[in-house]
């Protein structure tokens, strides 16, 4: 059982969430730190993971206030104990102020943000995420990779992906070999490799690569067929990831020459029909109904096509990752995109799409 250190200034929250967390974790509750000595107490507890409330402003029973709030405390803890994952545990409203900013991305001292309400509604998912985080850090700490190759072994990465994996590591992470420190390695794996599609794929991206719907991809027969492509390295997220290179390799191995000469998103379903006598639901563009789809809408996470979507460089993902695109449907129906990311000709297209909506 992983040891979780839970810091919260509200007594009620401490009681409620302690009870919830105890279903899967050994929970250590600490009073809010009011002095440097208190910070050392946290370190001395040697937790597997720290769950930290953002706002530590309510005084403790002795009417003492915390010397710092959650974020500065996490910075200090990260410096002192870089091998322990830190999760910001807070109310959703605090971070919903600016929907285009993401505190987790901007603060390297925080490994994850979990909202208190989410823990109530979907606790198993988040418990698994916390466990994976703690296990991943523990493995990095124990194995102490000495090179990027050692690090890639912990990911159980196909050898052929080594070059692309290296290209996905931010150049500054190579300075002084810092990529080999647990927190930097964890940051790269979780905030780049697992986050951006390109080397690893979520189900919707894997399905699009193969030209089938997400539901078709999630069928047992397909999941079994591709079982060896499933990501099983450290920090594996509860919803799973797939090695793109392996998905392709497994697919073409069963294709005939005619199927191999087609795009994968056409050839795969033909091959499946031939060998399994089963029609798979083909991927469909969310904006035009055209089949097969060839990309995924960044905002809606739905299958779409290149002619019915626009490039949307909303983040600083490495060049080796798939470019993000936003579908015409999202442009029509959503207001969650930022016009600053588009050039003048794209803005003109957006105007036309939105005008057609009216």
């Amino acid at each position: 059982m992983k040891k979780i250190l839970f810091l919260d200034d509200k007594e009620d929250d401490r009681r409620i969430y302690k009870k919830k967390l105890e279903r899967r974790f050994e929970v250590l509750i600490e009073e809010i730190p009011v002095s440097k000595e208190d910070h050392q107490k946290i370190i001395d507890k040697k937790p597997d993971v720290i769950l930290l409330d953002f706002d530590l402003s309510i005084p403790n029973k002795k009417n003492q206030k915390s010397s710092v709030s959650g974020v500065p405390l996490s910075i200090e803890l990260r410096q002192k104990i870089p091998d322990i994952p830190i999760i910001l545990f807070t109310k959703k409203s605090l971070f919903n102020i600016d929907k285009f900013s993401n505190i987790k991305n901007s603060l390297s001292c925080i490994d994850s943000v979990i909202y208190k309400t989410d823990l109530s509604s979907n606790s198993d998912y988040f418990f698994t995420e916390i466990e994976n985080l703690a296990s991943g850090y523990a493995i990095l700490h124990k194995k102490k990779p000495r090179s990027t190759s050692n690090l890639f072994e912990l990911l159980k990465a196909p050898e052929i992906d080594s070059d692309r994996l290296k290209q996905s590591i931010p150049p500054e992470s190579f300075h002084d070999n810092s990529i080999l420190s647990p927190s930097v390695a964890a940051g790269w794996i979780r905030s780049i490799l697992l986050k951006y599609p390109g080397i690893l794929y979520e189900d919707i991206y894997a399905a699009t690569l193969l030209g089938i719907s997400k539901e078709a991809f999630q069928k047992d027969s397909i999941q079994n067929f591709f079982s060896s492509a499933k990501y099983s390295g450290i920090f594996s997220p509860p919803e799973g990831r797939w090695w793109k290179s392996k998905l392709i390799e497994i697919s073409v191995a069963r294709m005939n020459n005619e199927e191999r000469s087609l795009s994968l998103n056409i050839g795969f379903s033909k091959m499946w029909k031939r060998i399994k006598k089963e029609d798979l639901e083909i991927s469909k563009c969310n904006s035009s109904e055209k089949t097969p789809a060839d990309c995924v809408c960044y905002l809606l996470k739905e299958q779409t096509t290149i002619p019915f979507s626009l490039l949307y460089p909303a983040d600083v993902r490495p060049d080796v990752m798939d470019k993000s695109r936003i579908s015409f449907k999202a442009i029509r129906e959503s207001n969650d995109y930022n016009l600053d990311f588009f050039d003048p000709s794209q803005k003109e297209i957006i105007k036309q799409i939105r005008r057609k909506k009216k």
Partner: protein, 272 residues
């Protein structure tokens, strides 16, 4: 088990698709299709290797495809920027390596290159085009194929005209959305041309469409290494043959062109 030639060629294609400098000349939508084509080739080779465990004669039949519906699209050319020229290419190369006999052959190849313009005044000229065509071009995103050509090898099922085994041809089967000027039916002339591959053709495109921007990449030892590998595999047998014919007029009675009409210089080639 290691295949001497195809493993080496796959490594070179992987290096090409993984190279950030080369990728910087591609349209962002083309990076994935290139990666997928190379990954498919790898998958084919791996599966052939597994099959070889039960074969008496070890061989690997492979196919490398960049489909026409997801071509390798480059960025807008730096040359004549006012014309907004963009080149794309699709290809199919099929080969056979007989491992036991240490031989490989390119059985079939076809590289199709299209040069698009995305400039309104270039894609539509009212003196030549009907208004209806103009409307269709504008509706399809204001782009048109201004020139197209392909490199391939002799089609054995048609004997309608003499053609060099490995040749270059202007035109070819265009699709409706290309609005191409060139007529599909004009199949001649077929110019004798050495066999092409993705690396050689990429070099040609970079040098022609991005002469100054690609200079640094083309001068890079990494790039030269890739190109020299392809030169050795695809160009050398062809030019050796040409050289032999020209240097030995007493032994070879046909002209070079006639000779190239009949000789299969992509055929089984010994791996040295």
């Amino acid at each position: 088990m290691k295949f001497m030639w195809i493993d080496g060629y796959l490594t070179k294609l992987t290096m090409l698709s993984n190279n950030p400098s080369f990728r910087s000349f591609l349209d962002p939508n083309s990076i994935n299709p290139l990666y997928e084509s190379v990954a498919k080739l790898r998958g084919i080779i791996e599966s052939e290797k597994k099959l070889n465990k039960s074969r008496k004669e070890r061989k690997v039949e492979w196919i490398f495809v960049i489909p026409r519906d997801t071509p390798l699209r480059f960025k807008i050319s730096e040359v004549d920027p006012e014309l907004k020229l963009r080149v794309d290419l699709s290809c199919l190369i099929q080969g056979l390596e007989e491992v036991t006999k240490k031989k490989f052959a390119i059985k079939k190849y076809n590289f199709e290159v299209r040069i698009w313009s995305e400039e309104k005044d270039v894609v539509y000229r009212d003196v030549f085009d009907s208004e209806e065509i103009g409307k269709q071009i504008m509706d399809s995103g204001c782009k048109r194929v201004m020139s197209r050509f392909h490199f391939d090898i002799k089609c054995t099922d048609t004997q309608r005209h003499l053609e060099p085994f490995s040749h270059f041809h202007i035109g070819g089967d265009s699709e409706g959305n290309e609005f191409c000027w060139l007529h599909n039916k004009i199949e001649i002339p077929r110019f004798p041309n050495p066999p092409m591959d993705l690396i050689l053709l990429s070099e040609l495109i970079l040098a022609s469409f991005f002469p100054s921007q690609s200079q640094e990449l083309r001068d890079d030892p990494f790039w030269k290494h890739l190109v020299k590998f392809s030169q050795n595999c695809f160009l050398k047998p062809y030019f050796d043959e040409c050289n032999y014919v020209i240097s030995n007029p007493d032994k070879v009675h046909s002209t070079l062109l006639s000779h190239l009409h009949t000789i299969n210089h992509c055929g089984i080639i010994k791996i040295h």
